[in-house]
């Protein structure tokens, strides 16, 4: 009798435990689905701060924008749009063209100091710690150095820079994880392709791992493959092929930057896994949105570079004029999948698909609306 009671008690505990485990898993999937849905609607403009007269603020000011590398079309596109937005903002923006060499960034900093720029914008990828002596010199000359689209809100900002408008790489990671959880009903087995040398990688990958831990007890990161940026073309494809062949349960590959996906797509095709292995990624690069249209990539999280350009000018001018500076760019992430990838155009372009809500939104808070 005692044995029966013990067995019954154990069964009850197991049933309750199992039920609670299942309930947790189901709740996690529901939370993931809700997150995904929240990023599928038309992106809405959120004012980055109180309205101000931007043209009065920008009068007589000029900003030198130094991208990580001028051959990167994403960064070049942002700067071109900052320059073109002068009609709306009144700010003169000049690009310091370079090929990604720190010695060229140093030259740019010195150029700004000698040519009486009001501010320097380090955009997406120049870590201020690599050019600290030049930032100090600029500060001494009364030129503020500002950083955009580089730090995650969770990362400490270099104390030498005047302000930083961060981008939620951690949030991107969470959204990528939520997508795989939602699509596999909590059974995602993931291979992550990353480049640890790029600073946003750490918060982005942490976002993936944290969200899987929070929302998906049965999901697994099967392998994380770290490939240096210069080796993407030679190492990603063979390593993804090896990972897929060695781990037949893998159902998602997440190349965390979408330009990696051109090497993941053939790896998935050659291993004959196109039907079972899906690709989810981030950046909204046009040719990858084309891949989404063609069914080679399942989803790509994009951000409008024109929106980034306006948000960057807005934040930096607030800094130049002594106003409160937003901590984040507040440019929404938008999911492109088979259902909406055509909104980005065929072939896709950088700015299509995000609506025009933000253009009017910025004009209103800048007091330039007709």
């Amino acid at each position: 009798m005692r044995g029966v009671i013990q067995t019954a008690a154990l069964a009850t505990v197991l049933t309750w435990g199992g039920a609670s485990w299942a309930a947790t898993a189901e709740e996690g999937v529901a939370r993931a689905k809700a997150q995904v849905e929240a990023h599928r609607g038309s992106p809405k403009f959120v004012a980055p701060g109180p309205a101000f007269d931007i043209k009065a603020c920008a009068a007589g000011k000029k900003m030198l924008s130094i991208p990580n590398n001028s051959t990167n079309p994403f960064l070049k596109g942002i700067i071109d749009r900052m320059i073109r937005a002068k009609d709306d903002t009144g700010l003169e923006v000049v690009e310091w063209q370079n090929q990604g060499q720190p010695s060229q960034w140093v030259q740019g900093m010195e150029f700004a100091a000698k040519n009486k720029f009001t501010a320097i914008n380090l955009i997406s990828g120049i870590d201020p710690k690599t050019i600290e002596p030049q930032i100090k010199a600029a500060n001494a000359a009364g030129i503020k150095t500002m950083v955009s689209h580089f730090y995650d809100p969770s990362q400490p900002v270099n104390p030498l820079v005047s302000s930083s408008v961060a981008i939620g790489f951690n949030a991107v990671g969470k959204l990528l994880a939520d997508w795989t959880i939602a699509k596999t009903s909590g059974k995602a087995n993931i291979v992550i392709i990353k480049s640890d040398e790029v600073p946003p990688t750490a918060p982005l990958v942490k976002g993936i791992t944290d969200e899987l831990a929070a929302n998906c007890p049965d999901c697994k990161i099967v392998q994380q493959i770290n490939v240096g940026v210069t080796e993407w073309g030679t190492k990603i494809q063979p390593s993804v092929q090896a990972a897929l062949l060695a781990n037949p349960t893998v159902n998602y590959v997440i190349p965390i930057y979408d330009s990696m996906s051109q090497f993941v797509v053939p790896a998935v095709a050659l291993t004959g896994k196109a039907a079972t292995v899906k690709i989810a990624t981030f950046n909204g690069t046009p040719f990858v949105i084309d891949y989404v249209q063609q069914g080679k990539v399942e989803m790509d999280i994009g951000e409008s570079i024109d929106w980034i350009a306006r948000a960057t000018v807005d934040a930096h001018l607030r800094d130049m004029c002594g106003l409160a500076v937003p901590k984040e760019l507040n440019v929404p992430f938008y999911i492109f999948d088979a259902s909406n990838a055509k909104e980005a155009g065929t072939p896709a372009t950088f700015d299509k698909g995000y609506g025009q809500d933000y253009v009017e939104g910025f004009r209103k808070i800048w007091k330039t609306a007709p």
Partner: protein, 317 residues
């Protein structure tokens, strides 16, 4: 068995050892036909690039522009086929002609102005890289016609994608020309001693120019295959194939026909190195280890070969 016979087949033995080693470490995973068929196909651009390099190397010239030519050829296809809507076949032909033209430009400066090949091809590599950035706006061009994708990776023969058979084809042609034709002998003489070759009446300039043009054309074919594998034209990554391809060419020169750049040695080297990379990746070992594997394999092979050959002349010494 003489020491030289051992040397001749040492690389194949090392490859077999790597395969057996990973086969034991990864039971049921590494030693599968799928793994090898995927590897044979996906390494085809690298193998073709190594084959492109051994032609001018045999004649004593370096072609540092070959990696950039890979990128140029794939980008020509991207621009013509995707952006300008050309049918795929003419786009491929223009890409191959573009590669040959790069070789001709290299030859013009190297042969006519007697500038060292290292300097000329370094310059043209940089020039082509800039040209490709201009053509592509530094962006990948996706959506290359399915016809090319089918001809490279879509169709299969004996379970291996067609890409691999282009490597075999070029390998056979080069092997035949280098081993069994007077042209192959002339090429070797030019590489071993230009003045001597000139004195015996070999048209040294013509041979060198021919080698550089051939190298450009084969590198362009590598770019065509790369575009077919990816289904896209990528503006940078062809450049990163250059050093591994040189490594494979030199590693290959220690085997099959030791002391000479030879196509089978180069092809085996590419697949030996990629077997190592694949096995390490399957074990989940970080990617930096693969660079150490590649570097150590090359250094060890060339050193051992040098020890075996003593003071005997080689193509790479």
């Amino acid at each position: 068995m003489t020491l030289k016979t051992v040397e001749r087949f040492a690389l194949i033995a090392a490859w077999a050892a790597v395969i057996v080693g990973f086969g034991i470490a990864l039971p049921g995973v590494f030693l599968t036909w799928t793994n090898f068929s995927v590897m044979f196909a996906s390494q085809a651009p690298a193998a073709l690039l190594a084959l492109a390099l051994i032609v001018p190397l045999t004649a004593g010239d370096y072609d540092l522009s070959a990696g950039a030519t890979v990128t140029l050829a794939s980008m020509i296809i991207g621009v013509l086929n995707v952006n300008l809507g050309w049918p795929i076949l003419p786009a491929v032909l223009v890409a191959l002609a573009g590669g040959a033209l790069v070789g001709a430009v290299n030859a013009f400066f190297i042969v006519l102005f007697r500038i060292p090949s290292l300097v000329v091809t370094l310059s043209t590599a940089s020039l082509i890289t800039g040209l490709v950035q201009w053509m592509s706006n530094s962006s990948t061009i996706g959506g290359i016609a399915p016809g090319l994708v089918d001809a490279v990776s879509g169709g299969q023969l004996f379970g291996i994608a067609y890409a691999f058979y282009y490597v075999l084809l070029i390998g056979i042609v080069l092997w035949y020309v280098l081993e069994y034709t007077p042209l192959g002998r002339r090429l070797l003489f030019v590489g071993r001693g230009r003045e001597v070759a000139r004195l015996v009446g070999i048209g040294v300039g013509t041979v060198r120019a021919g080698c550089l043009i051939t190298s450009g054309a084969i590198a362009a074919l590598s770019g065509v295959i790369y575009a077919g594998l990816l289904g896209a034209a990528d503006p940078v990554s062809g450049l990163n194939f250059l050093l591994p391809a040189f490594a494979a060419a030199f590693l290959g020169a220690t085997s099959i026909v030791p002391g000479r750049f030879n196509p089978w040695g180069a092809i085996i080297s590419v697949y030996f190195l990629s077997s190592g990379i694949t096995g390490l990746a399957m074990l989940g070992i970080p990617m930096w280890v693969t660079n150490i594997f590649n570097g150590a394999a090359l250094l060890l092979a060339v050193t051992l070969s040098q020890l075996v050959r003593g003071r005997e002349e080689t193509d790479y010494a």
